[in-house]
């Protein structure tokens, strides 16, 4: 595992009117790591993701990906550069089948132009076939094969979460950012999710940044954790250090008892 950061935020500040959602935040995500971003409700975690993926341009600071500044770049170009994400509240293409959802993810790497399939050019047909095969392969690897022809909106909740990840993987990312993947899951399901994230990292050679409220998942799977409160960084370190950090305990007091999940 290399230690040069794949992603780095330098003093990023994001304001909405009077609300400072992210306040002078600097953090980095080493290549090959699973990094966690935690914090109480409204701490600004999702806003950090929206800044990384290009939905918001921060008022100050920089986002660097592979050493290159990507601040303010359009979301689709950031995806092309190799960052894929999922959403806190699932956003699938509901009227399309699971297979189509994944194929849409493949589109960003597609080379043939839109008019090529209309003219039945063989290279376009070949690429379309390759995309369908790749998508089926992804569905198979994420245990979604039985849903391939089903409408995405009709899938069970857990399958929808996995499908969102499959769709993100279809864009061939090097960094995957997951916004609360365990939300709405029962303990068994989040247990399975932990193994799943480990598998993703090794099988797909990914770097993963995740927001998660489920401390068991965060502590179990993250190499390094950043803690946010009111948009400010209050701590960072490995699971052990975070668990014993008085500031973090303070921030979560009355909320989640970190040690109970040890």
């Amino acid at each position: 595992m290399s230690t040069s950061p794949l992603l780095a935020l330098d003093s990023v500040t994001m304001r909405f009117g009077g609300v400072v959602a992210v306040d002078n935040l600097s953090l980095h995500v080493p290549a090959g790591s699973v990094t966690g971003l935690i914090g109480p409700n409204g701490a600004g975690k999702t806003t950090v993701f929206n800044v990384i993926t290009g939905f918001y341009t921060p008022q100050a600071g920089n986002v660097r990906f592979r050493g290159e500044t990507i601040t303010g770049r359009q979301p689709h170009l950031i995806c092309k550069a190799g960052i894929a994400r999922t959403f806190q509240n699932i956003r699938l293409f509901g009227n399309e089948t699971a297979l189509q959802n994944v194929m849409i993810g493949c589109h960003v790497r597609q080379k043939s132009a839109w008019w090529m399939p209309v003219l039945c050019l063989p290279q376009a047909a070949r690429e379309e076939r390759a995309i369908a095969e790749k998508s089926l392969e992804l569905l198979k690897r994420l245990d979604l094969m039985i849903y391939a022809g089903e409408k995405a909106s009709s899938l069970p909740y857990g399958a929808q979460r996995r499908l969102e990840i499959a769709r993100a993987l279809a864009t061939d990312p090097s960094l995957l950012v997951l916004d609360e993947p365990a939300a709405g899951m029962n303990p068994q399901e989040s247990q399975a999710l932990m193994h799943f994230i480990e598998r993703l990292r090794t099988e797909f050679n990914l770097t993963i940044l995740l927001i998660e409220h489920d401390m068991k998942v965060v502590m179990g799977v993250c190499d390094h954790i950043w803690v946010l409160e009111y948009g400010k960084l209050i701590a960072d370190g490995d699971a052990q250090a975070i668990r014993n950090n008085p500031k973090v305990i303070e921030a979560y007091l009355g909320g989640e008892d970190l040690n109970s999940h040890a």
Binding site: H76, N95, W114, V118
Partner: protein, 347 residues
Amino acid sequence: MNSVIRNRLLNVLLIAVLGLFLYWAEHNLDGYKIQILNLIAVNAILALSLNLIYGFTGMFSLGHAGFMAIGAYVSALCVLSPDQKEMMWILEEVVWPVSVIHTPFWFSVLAGGILAALFGLIIALPVLRLGGDYLGIATLGFAEIIRVLIVNATPITNGSLGIKGIPMHSTLLVNYAWLLVTLYCLIRLLNSNVGNVFKAIRDDEIAARVMGVNVFGYKVLSFCIGAFFAGIGGALMGNLLTTIDPKMFTFLLTFNVLMIVVAGGLGSITGSLLSSAIITVLLESLRAVEDPFSLAGFDVPGIPGMRMVVFSLVLLCIILYRREGLMGMREITWNALFRFIDRRKHA
């Protein structure tokens, strides 16, 4: 048998049957019925083009009459002979390149489509940044601007007098050939991954952007392709009626097409085809309600426009009771048909 090959054979068979039927109709049916068959084909082209924009890509556009007007005018100006044009333009002299152009019909239709697509591009660049209802209002405005331009560009368009005596080239076979071309292009496009991308934009624009889709670019693409086929439909319509003038291309025309699309199902190709046939026939047969009739001894005079009142009511009922239209987003496919037959056999 391999289902892909089977479906392809069935498609060829269907087209052959359609061709034979049209050949028979051309020689055996009266002019009025042939006209209705022609209108069905043209309306189907128009409905498909709007369905691409609204039903498949989710852009609420009300600019169809504008694109049709461009197609109709460009095509008419191309097929009229220079002599005809010189005689007809009485308000102002016909301007130079238009005065000498004289092209074959197929080329004029294509030119109509291309110019409509170009106008579509000009409109799309500022307007497609808007979403939802704003887009509808802006495109409606642009269609009206196109109409006003046509009224005032007298040296090119003969202004409010319109163009009469367009030599009629669009036989049944010609119109249905264009419909087949439209169908072929749109089905190929929508079944490719680009089609999936259009539908992704319709379903969730934000998710589409995150998945690396250049949403604005693909919206412009879909809008221009839709405008292209609307231009072709307009060109065929103008040729079918042999007379065009700016008053034809008001919002009512857009409304007709919109009604067909909504009734057939937003996002369903076969739905648009079916409802083009049904609504075109209904619109014609409903002419009866505009005739004078006697009710319980009273003579009621004919009420022009009564048809549209009835149709507005029909549309209202669709929106209230069956919002997804005839087909919703479903399609009638050979596979679905065979599955249906299978189930009936086993039941």
